[in-house]
């Protein structure tokens, strides 16, 4: 039998397409001090497009050209804090998460990305304005919205030297904080890590 007559991949060739690799984990208010990425198949494309936990099936591979951290913060209404106090809300959620969060990405046994979250803006996102109508008695309320960096598709951390993840090589991303953060209203937010680059896959 000539198996070559029935093949589904041709000549061992690889094609390259522009690709995105992402994974999402919820930050749990007042609890999380570390979030781990790419080690679990989520079975939900809104959360992740990883096919295998922590690796690529052979012969697939990925060249990372940029890295982003998108924080899925929704617009928020909060009681206004007393004068002289920190003001909780959407902006404060983002500020707290990026002020002390640090991302680390390991391939095999070696770290290849290590930087504060504020240096990895999320790229495009919702952008808007906020206004109050002034009918709430003192101390009043505030409404705010926020993103990790200006929501612009060009606003992503492009690596000065791309990083290649070969097939069947373990990789993992971890965000750590030195202490758990209490988010506005105790509402958890999803934090997504996204790599953009080149996806390598077999010719079919």
């Amino acid at each position: 039998m000539n198996y070559n007559d029935y093949r589904s991949q041709y000549g061992g060739s690889i094609e390259v397409i522009g690709g995105v690799l992402y994974d999402t984990v919820a930050y749990v208010s007042a609890a999380s001090v570390a979030l781990t990425y790419f080690t679990v198949v989520r079975n939900n494309l809104a959360l992740s497009n990883i096919e295998l936990a922590g690796t690529f099936p052979s012969p697939k591979a990925f060249l990372i050209r940029s890295v982003s951290c998108k924080i899925m913060q929704r617009a928020f209404s909060s009681a206004r804090a007393a004068a002289g106090q920190v003001q909780p809300g959407a902006i404060d959620n983002i500020a707290q998460l990026v002020n002390t969060g640090v991302f680390e990405f390991t391939i095999g046994s070696k770290r290849y990305i290590h930087m504060p979250l504020w240096m990895m803006p999320g790229g495009s996102s919702a952008q808007g304005v906020a206004a109050g109508d002034g009918d709430v008695a003192d101390p009043g309320e505030i409404q705010d919205w926020a993103t990790n960096g200006k929501p612009d598709t060009r606003n992503v951390r492009t690596l000065s030297k791309p990083i290649f993840i070969g097939p069947q090589v373990n990789f993992v991303g971890v965000i750590t904080w030195p202490a758990a953060i209490t988010l506005a209203g105790g509402v958890n937010v999803n934090v997504q890590i996204r790599f953009e680059g080149d996806q390598l896959r077999p010719v079919q």
């Binding site: 500020a95 504060p116 992503v156």
Partner: protein
């Protein structure tokens, strides 16, 4: 010689160097009404969100760093403040940043020589929260809510050196921020200096 060759069988580092996109960061607290100078990269800090230096004031043997950009990030949070009287300065989170960058100066020192003296407002963070905030309130004593950062949080908004600067391994370096007089802020703030560029390290 025979003995040296025997040790080579057990090496953990291999010929050549690899280069990765990287950042060196350090964080020091500005104390309101007290601080006139802060020194960065001269000490090890307790947690990774504060600094990733592994030796005080220098890079370990086998590592060097090419500085391509210098960035300064303020780890502030949104603040609720009382409205100032008409005709007076409004103390708030934005005013804190304005004061710090308007009179702050950064000096980069390598070995015995300075390699740049920059007004702080030039060294935009190029990242951080971005959003909008509105106060809803029947004014009694007046209310304001504010958040500030060093420049537009867009990664294009960074001060890129026209000529990169190489810090070789085991050479002393630091950054010093100075102000001509102590500033009175609404709150003490952690200031993070980031040297953004390429890390050159051993192949392992």
């Amino acid at each position: 010689m025979r003995q040296l060759r025997q040790y080579a069988q057990y090496q953990t580092q291999y010929p050549g160097k690899e280069v990765i996109d990287a950042a060196l960061w350090d964080t020091v607290l500005y104390t309101s009404a007290a601080t006139v100078a802060l020194t960065f990269f001269n000490a090890l800090r307790a947690t990774i969100d504060l600094s990733n230096m592994r030796a005080a004031g220098q890079l370990p043997a086998g590592e060097s760093f090419m500085i391509r950009a210098i960035r300064v990030f303020f780890k502030g949070r949104p603040e609720s403040t009382a409205t100032a009287a008409a005709g007076a300065v409004q103390p708030d989170a934005i005013d804190d940043i304005a004061q710090l960058v308007d009179s702050g100066v950064l000096q980069l020192n390598i070995g015995q020589k300075d390699y740049g003296i920059y007004p702080l407002y030039l060294l935009a963070a190029g990242g951080g929260p971005y959003g909008g905030i509105a106060v809803e309130n029947i004014l009694v004593a007046g209310a304001a809510a504010s958040y500030g950062q060093n420049g537009d949080p867009h990664i294009y908004n960074t001060f890129t050196l026209s000529v990169p600067i190489l810090i070789k391994s085991q050479i002393n370096f630091n950054c010093v921020l100075t102000w001509p007089a102590a500033l009175t802020l609404i709150r003490n703030v952690n200031i993070q200096v980031v040297l953004d560029g390429d890390l050159i390290r051993s192949i392992q």
